[in-house]
Amino acid sequence: MRRRVWIPVLAAPVIAAAVLLASGALGLAASTAQAQASSVEVKIDNFSFGPATLTVAAGTTVTWTNRDDIPHTVVSDDKVFKSKVLDTDEKFSYTFTKPGTYGYFCSIHPKMTGKVVVQ
């Protein structure tokens, strides 16, 4: 009887551990994928987008943060996304689900251009 109880008891933690390990691994994989899908930053400063060309995986959220002392906007060339006016320290985020190349510019200072390449 004890034995019968024993094995499951022993087994339980082993199995549990195994499951934990497995799920840990899965969890790790999941969080890596999540890290890839989590926010990637573009800094707006000195009338430029940095980096000007950003390559990300589909599902990534890109966040633009205005560090300049003048307001800017983030407007897609093809009307895919459009931020409101961003004053200093304000942010705009967009999640890119479809692969492609997305050109954008600042509608206030149109010489400021950038590109997000989604793979």
């Binding site: 009338f47 003048i70 206030i108």
Partner: protein, 322 residues
């Protein structure tokens, strides 16, 4: 008389006697706050302390006198100028102190910094102290978020399209143009087909002796394309004005005074009343330029314009707030 048009400077088309050296000297003076007066094409300099002397002469008083201010950026509060309200008020004091009182004001845009109603309200309130009518054209900071609907509601009654219009004062034909709408990626300012057609029609029946004053926010000549300081279709607009003997183009946007003469056309940009910007190419970007606090008012300013009937060129006088 040669008809060679050199970049930036002049030729003697009107037998005005403007020479290159005098012109360049003038530009340098303007930067230090002296006055450069162009009276009937003759350049004269006056130190600011002698401003009152100008008021005495009939030529200075002229037949029509108005003031251009620009780029008040109400709402801006960063280190380059934490008090744009104070400097705008200083500009109003300057205007009220002119010995030849202007008949009205032109504001060449970027009235507000973020197109907020309270920013427009504040500027209106401050300019009321001049007691003068003010004619506005929008800057790119005035048409954020709403395609300029608020701007037109406030300042564009009777205007067409995005807010362009014309009016006459003492025989001088004034044209307010809008070149800050529908800006394209990588592009410059733009007037657009509809506005250009309106302009062609607006001036079609005017006598070529009618003095023309065009005012718009972004310069209508290519000052520095890398920073967007130009208007891609301004050549078409100027073509419609070719027949006129005197055309004065007043712009803002670049936050520094600059002047160029090309044939019968004098281009002039005003200083900002809020903050200066660097000279073309002299910095990484065209943003607000910090100067020592005690120097700030010397790089902000107003522009006084005088028209004397019979003279070709309008007298354009820049003065700083210092």
């Amino acid at each position: 008389m040669t008809n060679k048009v050199k970049d930036e400077i002049l030729h003697d088309h009107n037998q005005d006697g403007i020479d290159r050296r005098g012109f360049l000297k003038c530009m340098a003076w303007a930067g230090t706050g002296a006055l450069c007066v162009m009276q009937g094409g003759v350049l004269k300099s006056y130190s600011l302390s002698r401003l009152s002397d100008l008021g005495g002469s009939a030529a200075a008083a002229g037949e029509l006198s108005f003031v251009q201010i620009s780029d008040s950026h109400m709402g801006f509060n960063k280190p380059a100028n934490p008090d744009v309200t104070g400097t705008l008020k200083a500009a109003v004091d300057k205007i009220n102190g002119l010995s030849a009182a202007p008949e009205f004001l032109l504001h060449t845009g970027d009235i507000s910094h973020l197109s907020k109603p309270e920013e427009f309200d504040a500027v209106d309130q401050i300019l009321k102290a001049t007691g003068k009518e003010v004619f506005f054209v929008p800057g790119e900071h005035d048409v954020l978020n709403d395609d300029g609907a608020q701007f037109r509601e406030r300042y564009g009654k009777g205007a067409k399209g995005a807010g362009w219009y014309s009016f006459e004062k003492k025989g001088v034909h004034f044209i307010g143009l809008v070149n800050v709408m529908n800006l394209k990626a990588g592009g410059l300012g733009t007037l657009g087909h509809e506005q250009l057609e309106w302009l062609e029609d607006d001036v079609k029946h005017l006598k070529s002796s009618t003095p023309i004053v065009v005012f718009a926010h972004i310069p209508l000549w290519t000052v520095y394309p890398d920073w967007g300081w130009g208007t891609e279709d301004s050549a078409q607009a100027l073509a419609y004005l070719k027949k006129f003997g005197s055309v004065t183009v007043l712009n803002g946007h670049i936050h520094q005074t600059m002047q160029k003469v090309e044939g019968n056309v004098t281009f002039h940009t005003a200083a900002s009343t809020a903050f200066p910007q660097p000279q073309p190419g002299k910095a990484d970007s065209p943003g607000p330029m910090k100067v020592p606090a005690e120097q700030l008012r010397s790089v902000l300013g107003i522009t006084d314009v005088n028209y004397v009937r019979g003279q070709h060129a309008l007298a354009v006088v820049d003065s700083s707030l210092a």
